[in-house]
């Protein structure tokens, strides 16, 4: 499904800068949806480690990222030698946006309960 943007959710696990109720509501909504998604404990920590997974996330095509300020997310990826492409990136800021706004931007209208996947 190359035209389907991937979803990346950052739990910001190692600091309390993202309101807990926002990130938990977003995670709950993603979990309840029929949409596949990647979740990481903390993008900052991954960037500090220059985690190669960031390169996979950056080069895989369109992606929606639920994290914090877009400027911070862009340069965190860059710091890990995994620059995000200029197109196809949507960054949603859970520090200032409501869970409802983030969720509605992340999830397509047709999201349904999980169906079968193949391994």
């Amino acid at each position: 499904m190359p035209n389907t943007p991937r979803i990346l959710y950052c739990h910001c696990a190692y600091a309390n800068v993202v309101p807990a109720e926002v990130k938990n509501q977003v995670l709950d909504a993603l979990s309840a949806s029929g949409v596949a998604f990647d979740a990481v404990p903390d993008l900052c920590e991954m960037s500090a480690r220059r985690d190669p997974a960031l390169q996979e996330l950056a080069k895989g095509g369109a992606i929606k990222i639920a994290a914090c300020y877009p400027r911070a997310v862009v340069w965190l990826f860059n710091a890990a030698n995994a620059p995000l492409p200029e197109n196809g990136i949507e960054i949603l800021n859970m520090r200032v946006e409501s869970a409802e706004n983030v969720t509605s931007a992340l999830l397509p209208d047709e999201a349904e309960e999980p169906g079968p996947a193949t391994l």
Partner: protein, 291 residues
Amino acid sequence: MNAASIALTRPQLRVLLYEGNGSQAFTSAERAPILRSLLEKGYAVSSSRVGGALSAIGNGALLVLGRFSEEKPAQALADAGDVTVYFRDVNELDAAAIVELVDQVRDEFQIPQPGGWKPWFPVIDYDRCTNCMQCLSFCLFDVYSVSEDKKIKVQNQNNCKTDCPACSRVCPEVAILFPKYKQGPINGDEIDAEDLRREAMKVDISALLGGDIYAALRDRSAKAKSRFSKERDEDRALKERQRCLIKLQAQMDIPMEVLASLPSPDEIRAKAEIARARAEDALNANREGQQ
């Protein structure tokens, strides 16, 4: 865990919560606590769905959790050979038991423990950075360095002092971010005209102090020492030092622990001179490159 123990590019374990052919689905009420518990423990986790897109995994280990209807091999190599895949059946397990199972797999295969520290380090916005090297000159903890092409870079992020945003305060371009900082624009928030005016004022204040806040501190300390040695009033000297530190702490939001751990005046002088020389070298090289 101390930040100094963070290893770069160590192999990681990624968990895949697999629901689909050959694996019974979780309910929403089951799925969210499992994901949250794994994330809180520091594990990256992907949730699979039909038709959905997940990011690839290039290397390391992938642990596939499912309620499998058929027996799976405990371990397999992915086609590329760089990823080891583990399968574990989580039938009858709740979130806590699943986290315990993942911990066991991590221990069994000697995969490093994830996370556990507050990632605090500067991130450079290269769209704004003018390569002025003020951060390199300012930081006493060797966080910054110069790349082969004479550009400023973050070299030793583990040296950065948790919760200290001081270098971002001296950056005249608001180009240094600390994403976990409480306030904008240091946290990555957009920069407005007021931010730029405020930052410029801070630089002006620094310039009024002689362009080097540590030098100003040293001078002030030396003057105070001289005056107080004549007066033989150690209490006053201590109060003056405390006033100076409190003022610096308030102006730049530097944690007191960081101020308390500053090197000795002689070490500060030596470090500042080395950093200034490196910054000057880089600036000269850049000027020559522009000519």
